[in-house]
Symmetry: C2
Subunit: 287 residues, 2 copies
């Protein structure tokens, strides 16, 4: 397999946000010749949408995705309406930033206003997700903002996302907007899908439908000590990253490789400059 193009490295800001604010991260990307960025909405809000957009433009960065929209299921109509309104704002923000896509973490079982899970009906939750994405598409498609469904690892099915395989994400796209050029696609994050025996087939199917909108990388550690915040740096875990990249490329993906590492006990505690240098080196050597 060929080496990855170093110009395709992108940084999801979660990787270093524990110690740096968004303007620091943008400047850090420039210092480390990282050409892409994927910021989180709360950081964008803290810096200001216009200022963030300006800083990112000035740094010449590609916004590989805005994190995040989604969280569609809710226990009552008011909750679902609040999610809808928030998602509309997310689309507007993604447009202002010139993002390649708005990443959708679709939500798990419906929660009540206090954030407690209010139902065990996973099938209902999946219908709320489908309806929510369908409605959001009506705004996002004419505005020209692609929506990227990110299947999350099955260990997040209850509380974060009830779309847990690429096959399921593909099926939902088939139903709502069969061609990615109609504005609905997928974000493939190796952490969530690496285990899937149907991963190659799912990537091929997504590529054939022009819906490979984003590619996120990190690694799966053994042992993993926390369900949320113990992701590994590329090369420190067990995911065959060059193999999965080869599948993405064979399926036509030409976009960037976005490093997204939640790591409260390790990488989030390190000097962010050294983290970015490590991302740069590991992208070259291990992906």
């Amino acid at each position: 397999m060929s080496e990855p193009d170093p110009g395709l490295l992108s940084l999801n800001t979660a990787t270093v946000r524990a110690l740096w604010k968004l303007p620091d991260i943008i400047a850090g990307c420039a210092r480390h010749d990282i050409r892409g960025i994927a910021p989180w909405r709360d950081q964008v809000a803290a810096t200001g949408l216009k200022e963030t957009a300006q800083r990112i433009r000035d740094a010449g960065l590609t916004v590989t995705g805005l994190c995040r929209g989604g969280m569609f299921p809710a226990a009552d109509r008011d909750g679902r309406r609040a999610a809808r309104d928030d998602n509309r704002r997310a689309v507007d923000e993604a447009l202002a930033l010139g993002a390649k896509c708005l990443v959708l973490v679709v939500g798990g079982l419906p929660k009540d206003r206090d954030g407690r899970i209010a139902s065990k009906n996973l099938s209902d939750a999946r219908e709320m997700v489908r309806d929510g994405i369908g409605e959001l598409l009506e705004q996002a498609r004419p505005a020209g903002m692609p929506l990227a469904i990110e299947p999350l690892h099955p260990m997040y099915a209850a509380d974060r996302a009830c779309i847990n395989t690429l096959a399921h994400a593909n099926a939902m796209c088939d139903e709502l907007a069969p061609d990615g050029r109609d504005g609905l696609g997928v974000a493939v994050d190796v952490y969530h899908v690496w285990w899937d025996p149907d991963l190659k087939a799912g990537i091929e199917r997504a590529g054939a439908a022009n819906r490979l909108f984003a590619y996120h990388i990190c690694d799966w550690l053994v042992p993993t000590t926390d369900l949320l915040n113990d992701r590994g740096m590329m090369g420190d875990g067990v995911i065959d990253l060059p193999l999965i990249r080869s599948w993405m490329e064979a399926a036509g993906y030409r976009g960037m490789h976005e490093v997204e590492i939640f790591s409260s006990a390790n990488w989030w505690k390190r000097d962010p400059d050294s983290v970015l240098a490590t991302c740069r080196a590991r992208h070259r050597d291990c992906t």
Copy 2:
């Protein structure tokens, strides 16, 4: 949905083994009118195979499964041979106990002799699993010991089992022994498969092929604080247990409902008699 038959409650000994030895557990089952048991091999060895078999017979318990065989992948031929030999002994022990099946936790990526993962090749690991099960079937089938592949949650793909969906387990059975009467089937554990949008279809397919050999219950907690040992008691989590039981029954499953709870911070610390009383009550009210 109808209430579950209380006579179908079975106990996987992992649920109370932190405080009780196997003879205590067998006696506890009798006290709580629990009619089935699924012991672990190390406990059986500690008590002695003959004595265990005698005690279980005397208590009139059905052995819903022996835990466990599997762990087929290894980095070299010696490792795979050691796994094969150990699995053969497991079949013999299951026969001596009159178990309904030998549960197979198939193993993840190949490990070396020091227990370290030696390869990232998941596809190879899955071939080793298929070959290992195929070879074990040659012994188990004529001896009359059914082998039950247990798909494990995808979060265990690297280190415990690289068969992570019922669809994958079904496909492997189709390849090796298409009818369950030929001695190969599946163990459906709700903890591992509850999230799967194809679960109902997978249960139907397994039922049609006569390969539903075991049904394990517990619950998925939100939040889950540990990948291994934070399973919930039925009713304390988010799994729609009556729904999944209804799918099992509709697919023809008439076997027992085996409670298997790994819970180092909670249930393993409680008085085992109160745990068994809770299992009994929750089986009635929440499954």
